[in-house]
């Protein structure tokens, strides 16, 4: 390995545990890479250079002293700038919170700290996590490291772009309508949102109470399994966090998917899909079939209702949270965001409550349609090829770009309404050299199953190992 910044989470942790590398050397390698390339990609909001080196030195000292090492000891990470850390500014990608200094540290960050991960700072993101493309009017747009004029996907734009560019081994993102899986797919990395409530949300900026999720973006499914094992589980402060015991997701990555039954819904996910996306998706299915899985196309008529309801829940909850600022400081938002939030005030309360009230029934119906005879639902993560920043920029031209902008998250949103654990893994490059993603969803609390299939796929492909030409 010529560059320590290229190490995956598990490889970095393993090399550190064996004494083959110091945490300080890994952090310095990542810092050097950021210094060399981030001027083009624009992933970083705050780089905690000295704090990261001090944390790395502490891990090196602990190892030298024979202290038991955590699962992520020495692994360099950065996180979307909406995970609160006491005393550190958390901008949430906004002008409104440019000076917001929280008095709490996110539970997910506390767990990563305890596992020995090195937090190097905070990452660019869509303003208040509210767009699927990664545009940011206040900190500048994040650029796709595979091809700079193209969008990164959002809202966890810096998380996806930075992991792809090998600026750090992993990053936390958040996912309310696809904000982990979209940048994972578009930047060619792996991302997972867990079952709704699987990871506590204490100390995390809210967007939509009902559908927000915390999760990692990494290079491999094995890395994602390692991080999810660390951050999942009940929390004394977040009463919504699921109390179910957390398995060791990594231990389940056997690669054995013989007999696995994969369902592909006829509906929704292929509406107006680009041919090259469908071709890549079908090729990914062939890889899984060669490992012993079977694939069936199934009818899921519930998806039409799910598609209508999911749009209502996030828009109403987002508009509610932002009401005071929308009254008092509407000009402090980017044009696309204040415009999007504004629409939420027009939705009747009865629509919102209908959407929430039918969530349980529709989850049961979808499971009956998709999972009664199957273990995994597979779809493309995006229906379209990766768009450019310009052709999805609503601030410049809402009339021309609105529909394309909103279509980016069409295939990811349903799984937020359903609350299902869902992974995106890279499954190809399009004709312009931009990544495409395979989305794998499992039953509730089936994170281990989804990750196991993702890992099996990555054992037979190398899309996840490819690096953007930026490097």
């Amino acid at each position: 390995m010529s560059d320590l910044a290229e190490l995956s989470v598990t490889d970095a942790a393993s090399a550190f545990a064996k004494g083959e590398v110091t945490a300080e050397a890994m952090v310095r390698a990542c810092l050097a890479r950021i210094d060399a390339h981030d001027v083009k990609v624009n992933t970083v909001i705050r780089l905690d250079r000295e704090a990261a080196l001090e944390a790395a030195a502490a891990q090196d000292k602990a190892r030298a002293g024979g202290v038991a090492l955590g699962k992520l000891a020495g692994v360099p990470m950065m996180h979307k700038d909406m995970y609160y850390r006491t005393g550190k500014v958390s901008t949430c990608g906004s002008k409104i919170r440019r000076d917001f200094t929280p008095t709490v540290t996110a539970t997910a960050l506390q767990r990563l700290d305890a596992a020995g991960a090195i937090d190097m700072g905070t990452l660019n993101m869509a303003e208040f996590a509210q767009n699927p493309t990664g545009h940011n009017a206040h900190f500048g747009d994040c650029h796709n490291p595979w091809n700079l004029p193209y969008c990164t996907g959002g809202s966890s734009s810096g998380s996806g772009a930075g992991v792809a560019a090998r600026f750090f081994a992993a990053a936390l993102g958040s996912d309310t309508g696809g904000s982990i899986r979209l940048p994972a797919s578009i930047c060619g990395v792996t991302g997972i949102k867990g079952t709704q409530t699987r990871v506590p949300r204490t100390g995390v900026m809210p967007l939509s109470f009902s559908m927000d999720n915390v999760g990692p973006l990494t290079r491999t499914a094995r890395d994602a399994a390692r991080v999810m094992t660390v951050i999942s589980g009940s929390d004394d402060i977040d009463p919504t966090a699921a109390p179910e015991a957390v398995p060791d997701y990594e231990a389940a990555l056997t690669g054995d998917i013989r007999g696995l039954r994969i369902a592909v819904p006829h509906e929704w996910f292929f509406d107006s899909a680009d041919d090259i996306v469908v071709t890549a998706f079908e090729a990914a299915l062939e890889v899984l079939k060669a490992r012993g899985a079977t694939v069936d196309y199934v009818a899921c008529p519930s998806l039409r209702a799910i598609g209508a309801y999911v749009a209502v829940v996030s828009r109403v909850e987002g508009a509610t949270i932002h009401a005071n600022w929308m009254r008092d400081h509407p000009g402090d938002y980017a044009i696309h965001l204040s415009g999007r939030l504004y629409g939420g005030y027009a939705i009747p309360g009865t629509y919102y409550l209908e959407a929430l009230s039918r969530r349980g029934a529709l989850l049961r119906q979808f499971c009956k349609e998709a999972f009664i005879d199957h273990d995994i639902v597979a779809t493309p993560t995006l229906r379209m090829r990766v768009p450019t920043l310009a052709e999805t920029d609503i601030d410049v031209d809402p009339a021309a770009n609105w529909a394309r902008h909103m279509a980016v998250s069409a295939n990811t949103r349903p799984f937020n309404y359903l609350g299902l654990p869902t992974v995106s893994v890279p499954c190809g490059l399009d004709d312009r050299g931009l990544p495409m993603g395979l989305q794998l969803s499992a039953r509730p609390f089936g994170e281990g199953r989804a990750l196991m299939v993702a890992d099996a796929y990555q054992q037979d492909t190398d899309w996840h190992a490819r690096m953007p030409p930026l490097a």
């Binding site: 044009i335 204040s338 504004y342 629409g343 005030y345 027009a346 029934a361 609503i394």
Partner: protein, 68 residues
């Protein structure tokens, strides 16, 4: 040009929330609701009298991955 229902909706928002339409993107966002209303029209009659939001957490557990 905003579609016909938009001006009264803007007035309702102002009355109920005190929020003014911020820009053209706000108008575009309201125009989206013509399609959303049609989608909800198609769903009329599907909400069951006893349905309640809290059943979602129960459904998550009822439909959980075996052995998880």
């Amino acid at each position: 040009m905003a579609s016909e229902p938009v001006p009264p909706v803007m007035e309702a928002i102002r009355l109920w929330t005190g929020v003014e339409c911020p820009n053209a993107a706000g108008l575009r966002s309201l125009d989206d609701f013509t399609a959303l209303i049609q989608e909800f029209e198609a769903l009329r009659g599907t909400l069951v009298f006893e349905d309640e939001p809290s059943s979602f957490e129960a459904a998550l557990r009822a439909e959980a991955e075996p052995g998880a």
